[in-house]
């Protein structure tokens, strides 16, 4: 598959809806997509819809992040009018507030669903809590979309396992320098999973991995890309133009929730809970700084990265709170870092490009 064959969110959504399929809009970040697949529902993740900010400004304080702002803009522009439900995972205070705003004041066109992830450090009760959350969500999904078809959950878990393998393959090939594609292509393809059903997405990902060249990516300095999501798009293009090799990432929307041990056999809820509890450390799950730091250092060591670029969404509290200590720890470990504060969908611009270029010169 060539990445140009990947159809856009809008097109895919229309095709899916045109075929009579059900959709649940999902706000960031972690949620049990397997439950939605089991019900035959397409999760349509809302991370960074490309809309000019207009009406959302009137509902949010200026210090709210652009992920929430753009998500609300999509809602107010009627972009979620055709979905069967809207799922709000409890990721951070800003998203929690967005959920209240939508539910209490904005008369949503579809039922709101909520999902509360346990926060680290995970106590013995965390697994039971997660399973109870799954059961609650299952009841809600049944109420909104009807019961799961027979074998729904078994098939969803199979898709989940296969996707885990493919994600792991993509990341490990890239870290080993055996995936000759730039950051822009890598993330364009991997972000297909945010809106495509695994039935369509798995063959696409398989085809891409089979046809992607083994070498030919950036030849310059190796970096870890940390932060919220691989956006704005010109950030990735700039990294490619400057010849950076993104050897791994530590992004909330990417490896922090995609690279985890696939759900095993046995009770599906227990299996999903175990997977969730073994996800890589993340600020939004309350992971400790030391855990995050060791994780980042490990990623850098494994991929031979010389530095870390933090692409942090402005006003993202969970990320910004951790940042100073993480940077200090990385510096002590001989890993310089660069921070770019970005608004999703707003070009990073010339000054950020200069900073990246200077960072590359400094690492060389």
């Amino acid at each position: 598959m060539s990445p140009s064959e990947l159809i856009s969110r809008g097109e895919y959504f229309s095709q899916w809806r045109g075929g009579g399929g059900q959709v649940c809009a999902v706000f960031p970040a972690q949620y049990p997509r397997e439950l939605l697949w089991a019900h035959g529902v397409l999760p349509m993740e809302v991370w960074d819809p490309p809309l000019a900010p207009a009406r959302a400004q009137g509902h949010l304080q200026p210090y709210i992040c652009s992920v929430v702002r753009q998500g609300l803009e999509l809602f107010l522009a009627g972009g979620l009018d055709d979905v069967g439900a809207i799922l709000f995972p409890h990721t951070c205070d800003s998203l929690q507030n967005l959920a209240s705003l939508v539910e209490d004041y904005l008369d949503p066109p579809a039922p709101s669903l909520f999902f509360y992830n346990p926060k680290a450090p995970f106590a013995a009760a965390a697994k039971g809590f997660y399973v109870a959350q799954l059961q609650t969500l299952e009841r809600e999904l049944t109420r909104v979309f009807g019961p799961q078809p027979p074998e729904g959950m078994a098939r969803a878990l199979e898709w989940s396992r296969r996707l885990s393998e493919l994600y792991a393959q993509a990341y490990s090939r890239r870290a080993a320098g055996e995936l000759g594609v730039g950051a822009a292509e890598f993330y364009r393809v991997l972000r297909g999973g945010e809106y495509m059903h695994p039935r369509d997405y798995i063959p696409l990902l398989e085809g891409w991995l089979a046809s992607a060249p083994a070498n030919g990516g950036g030849q310059g300095q190796g970096i870890i890309l940390s932060g919220v999501l691989p956006s704005p798009p010109d950030l990735l293009e700039t990294l490619d133009e400057l010849g950076f090799r993104v050897v791994h990432d530590d992004l909330i929307s990417m490896s922090r929730r995609l690279l985890y041990p696939p759900p095993g056999e046995g009770d599906p809820y227990e299996a999903l809970a175990e997977s969730f509890l073994s996800m890589p450390p993340c600020s939004t799950r309350g992971s400790s700084l030391s855990e995050r730091l060791e994780w980042l250092k490990g990623l850098a060591r494994a991929g031979g990265a010389q530095g870390v670029v933090f692409s942090v969404v402005k006003f993202c509290e969970p990320e910004l709170f951790d940042l100073p200590e993480l940077r200090r720890g990385l510096k002590e470990a001989g890993l310089p870092s660069l921070v770019l504060e970005v608004d999703v969908n707003q070009e990073v611009g010339g000054q950020a490009a200069t900073r990246l270029e200077a960072f590359g010169e400094m690492l060389s």
Binding site: T354, R355, A358, M362
Partner: protein
């Protein structure tokens, strides 16, 4: 003998430096950038060549730096102003540990490692606060020449505090302070303090290693330099021509590139 040129195309000024293979400065220029970066770069280069008594044919290699570096077709290589400022400062002050550069559109603090290499750096975000542009706007509002700001600030008997760092808000704050008959020199000192606080806050991220030097157009303002030294608690050295540090670094990069 081969000669090498560095051209630093900034938002307000375009500067050039010509050096020999031994690094000796032969000519330099500081010119206005205006609306066209390519023309500005060429004008700066020609002015520096004039001073050196040379022509473009005498140049073995040219490196461009600064925000307009991409628009300099005659440069064989483009290198960021961060690396060029570091190398230029190191050539002028071999014991330099930190460079504070306040230019027209951005300000940056660079910590140097061995041999003039960048060890760490920080740049201001997309905002005029803490840049030469901030002072330029305020000087115009106060009807004072840019070159007079430093002298007036140093002579001030007191200081009026400016609460806004934002250029737009500070502008209206200045208007109301002047309307309330606050002495202009004390307002200017307050404005300088605002720039210094903003840039000094940036140093917190990377630390300050003496010896500290200041470069860029704002380094010509003795009032800002004095307040910066006081705020950071260090002596600050200013090169004779602080606006050509980046161009000099670029010229030194040109020697390296040609070797």
């Amino acid at each position: 003998m081969s000669y090498f040129a560095g051209i630093d195309v900034g938002s307000l000024s375009s500067d050039a430096a010509i050096i020999g293979q031994d690094g000796d400065l032969k000519g330099w220029s500081v010119t206005e950038t205006g609306p066209h970066s390519t023309n500005a770069a060429e004008a700066a280069l020609d002015a520096a060549l004039d001073m050196a008594g040379l022509t473009r044919d005498d140049l073995a290699f040219v490196v461009a730096t600064g925000y307009g570096r991409a628009a300099v077709p005659l440069a064989g290589k483009k290198i960021t102003e961060i690396s060029c400022h570091a190398l230029g400062a190191y050539a002028l002050f071999p014991d330099v540990g930190t460079v504070i550069d306040i230019g027209g559109q951005d300000s940056k603090v660079i910590r140097l490692g061995e041999g003039g290499k960048v060890a760490d750096f920080v740049m201001n975000d997309k905002c005029a606060a803490g840049t030469g542009r901030f002072l330029e706007v305020m000087a115009a509002k106060l009807g004072v020449g840019l070159d007079d700001l430093g002298r007036l600030s140093l002579a001030a008997q007191g200081e009026v505090s400016i609460s806004s760092v934002c250029t737009v808000f500070a502008e209206s704050e200045v208007v109301s302070l002047v309307a309330k008959n606050h002495p202009i020199d004390q307002v200017i000192k307050g404005l300088h303090r605002s720039v210094v606080n903003r840039v000094a806050a940036m140093t917190g991220n990377i630390g300050i290693t003496p010896r500290v030097i200041m470069s860029g157009g704002v380094a010509k303002n003795a009032g800002v330099v004095a307040l910066m030294a006081e705020r950071l608690g260090v002596d600050i050295a200013v090169p004779q021509e602080p606006q050509i540090v980046g161009a000099l670094g670029a010229a030194l990069m040109a020697v390296r590139a040609a070797l």
